[in-house]
């Protein structure tokens, strides 16, 4: 069930939203809910991937938070032109295989 909440938003943004909603013949509340859901999803992904890049989260921890599997995680890195959080120093420090 939807619960009410109150936020203050800049007047110019509110005017722009109202104008767009009117022109597009959308339900204002439903539209705002949809925008919030989409925006939250994108922002959550961005913030968690930033934490991954900083090594504050592991790959599995990000996947768990976003309900992704590792394959989707790798595909998302590619889509955003991001790389694994393994550093050049880690490559240099990696052990050799015994002969």
């Amino acid at each position: 069930m939807a619960k009410p909440t109150t936020i203050r938003i800049p007047e110019d943004l509110l005017n722009e939203i109202n104008e767009f909603v009117q022109k597009s013949k959308l339900d204002r509340s439903a539209y705002l809910r949809e925008v919030l859901r989409k925006g939250f999803s994108i922002d959550k992904q961005d913030r968690l991937l930033l934490k991954y890049a900083r090594k504050e989260l592991s790959q599995v921890e990000v996947c768990e938070e976003l309900k992704w599997d590792t394959w989707r995680f790798l595909a998302q890195l590619k889509a955003r032109n991001l790389y694994l959080n393994v550093e050049f120093e880690d490559w240099l420090d990696a052990a050799e295989l015994p002969s």
Binding site: K55, S58, E61, T70, N85, V86, D90, D93, A95, L97
Partner: protein, 176 residues
């Protein structure tokens, strides 16, 4: 036989670059139970060929699943269960390499002074040990770059190492 304790990131990238079976034939590969759950669930096996391969290798016993026990590591950073269990197993078993492609897990391995290896290094090392051809090694590194999302800096240096190994081998043949 060298023992390698792998986490989910290493297993998947080894599968992606076509080296998992070779590595399983050459080394004793051990994964903790949590890693098995992370990479080889029924759903994942249905959707991804890599997961199906990992599951198959586990069922054949080429990848051993082992419990890490109930101990926990006194880590300065929190680690996910699978990675912590893999690191714990590498410490408990001793003389083991910890295979991972996760920066946070590497950070923890460095803290506990556990020798770790990353997939591009495995590729170069397999070529050095003459277990795979130059062509296969180069192709694997390309896959690690494109699909595995390894940084261009690491892949470039891995390719240089590969070339150096190749040239070294050619020169050795010329010398003899």
């Amino acid at each position: 036989m060298t023992r390698m304790v792998a986490d989910s990131s290493a297993l998947i990238l080894l599968a992606k670059c076509g080296l998992l079976e070779i590595v399983c034939n050459l080394f004793e590969i051990i994964v903790p139970k949590a890693v098995n759950i992370e990479v080889a669930t029924e759903d994942l096996v249905k959707n991804y060929p890599d997961a199906a391969l990992i599951s198959d290798l586990i069922s054949k016993g080429a990848i051993k699943v082992q419990s890490s026990g109930s101990d926990r590591l006194p880590l300065p950073i929190s680690l996910h269960r699978g990675k912590e269990d893999a690191l714990l197993l590498a410490i408990k078993l001793g003389r083991s390499l910890f295979a991972t492609d996760d920066g946070k897990a590497i950070k923890a391995a460095k803290f506990f002074k556990v020798p770790f290896i990353i997939t591009p290094k495995i590729v170069v090392e397999l070529f050095r040990l003459q277990k795979i051809s130059f062509k296969k090694a180069r192709k694997s590194l390309e896959k690690l770059s494109k699909i595995g999302r390894y940084s261009p800096e690491i892949i470039a240096d891995a390719l240089v190492s590969l070339m150096e190994e190749k040239n070294g081998k050619t020169n050795n043949h010329k010398d003899t």
